[in-house]
């Protein structure tokens, strides 16, 4: 079916992950930071699927499944937190969220 070397997918996933990391470090908006996390997760999923392909096993796909489920849970809780944050302090910029210091 596919003639693409699996390693290419891995490279792609690495690139995406790296971009996710960069986004995670640079973005200031809590929600965007969340998104970059999702991006990283996606990159990892791609790697999983690629490996599943390479080793001709389904476990990788199962893991992807679980990753997605967990991501869903995380998003639910995280966004609830974000909403509370926005209600309590009028900005979502992490620059403002320096309470961790105290």
């Amino acid at each position: 079916m596919s003639v693409i070397p699996v390693s290419w997918y891995l490279v792609l996933s690495a690139i995406l992950f790296g971009l996710g990391v960069v986004a995670f470090v640079f973005k200031r908006n809590v929600i965007t930071i969340f998104m970059s996390i999702e991006l990283m997760l996606n990159a990892v999923n791609l790697a999983f699927v690629a490996f599943a392909r390479a080793h001709n096993q389904l476990d990788g796909l199962v893991f992807v499944f679980f990753v997605i489920v967990v991501a869903a849970a995380e998003a639910a809780v995280g966004l609830a937190i974000v909403i509370m944050l926005a209600q309590h302090r009028q900005s979502l910029s992490v620059e403002r969220e320096n309470l961790l210091k105290f």
């Binding site: 995670f24 470090v25 930071i33 992490v94 969220e97 320096n98 961790l100 210091k101 105290f102």
Partner: protein, 656 residues
Amino acid sequence: MPILDHLWIILALPLAGAAINGLFGKRWPQSAVNSVAVGSVTLAFLAVAELVREFTLLAPDQIPYVGRYFTWMVAGPFKVDFSLQVDQLTVVMLLTVSFVGMLIHIYSTGYMAHEGGYYRFFSYLNLFMFFMLTLVMAANLIVMFVGWEGVGLCSYLLIGFWFLKKSAADAGKKAFITTRVGDFGFTVGVLLVFATFGSIDFSAIFKAVAANPISEVTLTTICILLFTGAIGKSAQLPLYVWLPDAMEGPTPVSALIHAATMVTAGVYMVARMNPLFSRAPIAMLVVAIVGAVTAFYSATIGLVQTDIKKVLAYSTVSQLGYMFLACGVGSYAAGIFHLMTHAFFKGLLFLAAGSVIHAMGGEQDMMKMGGLRSKIPITYWTMFIATLAIAGIPGFAGFFSKDEILEAAKSGPNANLILWVLGVAGAALTSFYMFRLVFLTFFGKPRYDEHHIHVHESPKNMTIPLVILAIFSIFGGWFAAPKLIGGIDYFEKFLAPVFSMYAPPMAEPAHVLAESTASPEMELLTALTGVPVIVAVLGLLVAWWLYIKSPETPKRWAQSLRGLYLLLLNKYYVDEIYAALFVRPLLWLSTNVLWHGVDEGVIDGVVNGSARVARASGGQLRRLQSGNTRSYASWVLIGAIGFSVLLIALYVKVVH
């Protein structure tokens, strides 16, 4: 064989009682606490009785009967099972302990009725029973040691029962620390035993020592060390000082722990280890000497004490001395015999004293008593019987046992006349100060303010134990009665297997020699047999003359022999000497070196230093915690990258 198969039940009962009372007793009414405490001990006693029944059915080769329960600890060759054993010696001890313990529990329900911390008292008491029984039933030195330390702990707790009273708390500490000195020796002894025999199981040790004789030096060392423990626990010279102070505790405690059971642990231990001692003559001699000297020495102190309990305390010390004397001269049976009878009459004496104090409303000074005979008859009669017993008046329990001891000292396997003389002198003094006590307390004019103190007989649950114990103080010794008419000593015969099984070949039972036929000095010795009785009666008469006939003579003597009198009154200044020799140097050392030097200098220095370092580094690291999430993120990133670099580097190394 329900009990024999489940020896642990005997231990479990008092332990359960202690736990229940300790945990829940605080909320409960006294009746509930009573039923738990007394109930558990009574059940334990019944269990022991049943045990004895089953024991009698055992074939001789089944004795000692050992019950292994679980492996407690294993460290290389060092393996300790939690195992209990039963043989004749154990049986005797079990009966004595559980029986007297039960009676004293009952007595306590009356005596402590109006005290605070009621539940606490009984929980301690049950705990003590548990440990004491463990000590007695132990099948190896370690389990025995557990019981050994356990009873020490309980004695500490109970002496300091009224811990708000400084003297009580101090007495508790004193007892604990002093015995600890001995226990140190004991511990080393145990280790040495293991090092020598490669095991700490009694049977194994004894077999080993019986099979291949080992160097006498080692054996002697071991025995001396073990005996140090006994000295501490059984309050012999020079470590007796804690026992008189221990009288700060409640009287039942004095009766149970410091007269009947715990203090005799040392004797029991020596008797238990008899195969070792029998092979170490020097150690035996030490034991004998210590015993005899203590017996005499503390008797002399007892002469002039005015505190009723103090007198009893010193007499206890001296009686214990007799027991060690017995063991020392190789007649363990006599020692154990005296241990048992002593448990009866000394327990009785203490309980009676307690009853007196109870009647006097807490007064302990005999000089402020007198003439109580008619007011508290039961107490009076029982105490009088006990006195006759301890004084060794023929027909009473104490007579038989003490007589056997002196007999052994006179003509036993390793007899020694000097010891015998000391013993006899001690006996004379004993009878004197005991009757002195009785006369001062019950006879003559009341020397207290009758308007304020309303003397009253104690309640039933106190008097009944007195009566029972009195009966035993009379008949408790009659096992040995037949011997007087050339028969055999059933007690000795019963215990014989324990002491003969691993006995060294040359040692025969005592009475064989005693019956050996007439050579001149044998004539003399047999002639001397009656002496103890004579001196006992003598003591009685002197006491009678001094304290009833002409009560003012003692004061005159005290004036004339002022130095001696003060010396005795102040117990030979031993406490002061110890204070000067050990306590103050120790205090100085611990204050200046350990406290100001080690503790403040080193330990606090380390602690504060590390704290300072932490604060300094924290001050620097604080900058990292900018509170800026993204910086944290980048730190995580850095870590992750470093880690993955590491991983991949390793991977590459593996591949190429």
